[in-house]
């Protein structure tokens, strides 16, 4: 694009060379959240620019490309070429944050596995909807573990290798412990009465359970 700069020597007038004006229009349209009118372009560009001419040059430059400059209402915007829409279908896979309920359920399974639905409910203090467990199963972040040898033989849940992979963990034992959560500022640092003792105890016990599980699987 060397020719874009050919006429870059500053004229006696303020206005930048046309090639430069075209670059400006291109950048503004690209970054704008909404279509921009010619007046809007002129208002942003340095004094003496002619957005209309620069825009026409830009429209021409993008003719036949994968991206086009199109008129939308009073303004102009950049859009992908309609014939390439099929490539964008995957673009619409939407990354969505897991719901709070799902994250909490997942966290409890990860820290306490193998764990039953009743235990999850006990820790969260609210009932766990079937949809939440189903969603985690479907994502293959949890799977069924062994049945617990207690009355009713409830199924247990454990996390999967896919889960470890997603979170960059070598094993569930690599999950930060309560002490680290606190160091990272995720738990309130003010030690509430009784918290210190009880949580550390839980952590140890938790580790022991996890050890069991992982030796089991090995």
């Amino acid at each position: 694009m060397a020719e874009s700069y050919d006429d870059k020597e500053q004229s006696l007038f303020d206005a930048p060379p046309f090639a430069e004006q075209e670059r400006m229009v291109e950048a503004v349209l690209f970054a704008a959240t909404e279509p921009v009118s010619v007046a809007g372009l002129n208002a942003r560009m340095p004094h003496g620019c002619n957005a209309k001419t620069a825009l026409e040059m830009l429209v021409k430059r993008y003719e036949g490309r994968g991206v086009r400059v199109v008129r939308v209402g009073d303004g102009y915007a950049m859009r992908t070429a309609p014939d390439l829409g099929h490539l964008m279908q995957r673009e619409t896979t939407e990354m969505r944050k897991l719901s709070r309920a799902a994250i909490e359920t997942l966290a409890i399974i990860a820290y306490h596995q193998p764990t039953t639905r009743a235990e999850i409910e006990e820790i969260r203090g609210v009932s766990v909807s079937r949809g939440t467990i189903d969603q985690l199963l479907e994502m293959e972040w949890i799977r069924f573990g062994r049945r617990r040898m207690t009355p009713g033989r409830p199924v247990t849940y454990v996390v999967t290798p896919q889960f470890l992979d997603h979170f960059g963990l070598e094993s569930a034992r690599d999950l930060p412990g309560l002490r680290e959560l606190r160091a990272a500022g995720l738990l309130d640092a003010r030690p509430l009465p009784g918290l210190e003792g009880s949580s550390d105890g839980a952590e140890v016990e938790n580790d022991a359970e996890q050890d069991d599980l992982f030796e089991d699987d090995a």
Partner: protein, 261 residues
Amino acid sequence: MSDDQFDFSESLSVQERLKAEALIVDVEGFEGPLDLLLNLSRTQKVDLRTISVLHLAQQYLAFVQRAKALRIELAADYLVMAAWLAFLKSRLLLPPDPTDEGPSGEELAAHLAFQLERLAAMRDVAARLMARDQLGRDFFARGAPEDVARVRRVTYSATLLDLMQGYARVRTKDEFRPFVLDREAILSMEQALERMRGLIGYAGDWTDIQSYLPEGWELDPKRRRSATAATFAASLELVKAGKIEIRQGDTFAPIQIRRKP
């Protein structure tokens, strides 16, 4: 520490004394002892690799002494550093003891010089990093998201941080319990969502969201307000999930939803 160690501070010129006092007044501005040492070292105006650690140690000890004289509370780590520098100073001044196994004064001094040089270098690159062109300030990503009316496949994501926060939340729930006010007239969005999920299957045509309020809640103004807000928020969630459509004819007109055909 005997007083004669601080003859040095007594012999400061007026200008130097003012400078030292300015440092002390500024003590809050220092990010720890290393930061202070780095600042003091600037007065030597030399390459950090050729700095006189002995001189620096003396300056630091003088600083701590002045702070004490002015009854300024210094954080413990400043005092720990002072003790260490006093030890280092004695090592540097006394002839080495051949029976001593530990590192020599020179080794310790070299390490301190390294630490200062490293901190200075980190400061320097931090400044260079922040001086770079930055996304959202100097250069920009695409402003308008592409039209997403096409096939949608939702993948859920969560980060380790989300997971940790979630766990921290449930683990602190009990302790935080006393601070939560139980209010009967509150419908949470989760509850509204749960409720609507069961109901929208039957909503073929446009229906006012008011009709999704729990039975009886529309009678009590407080409950109605909470339930309306929660139901509206839940509706937006369902729209986002692609389950329903939502519309409002005009400002303050009824908000209507229907199941996505």
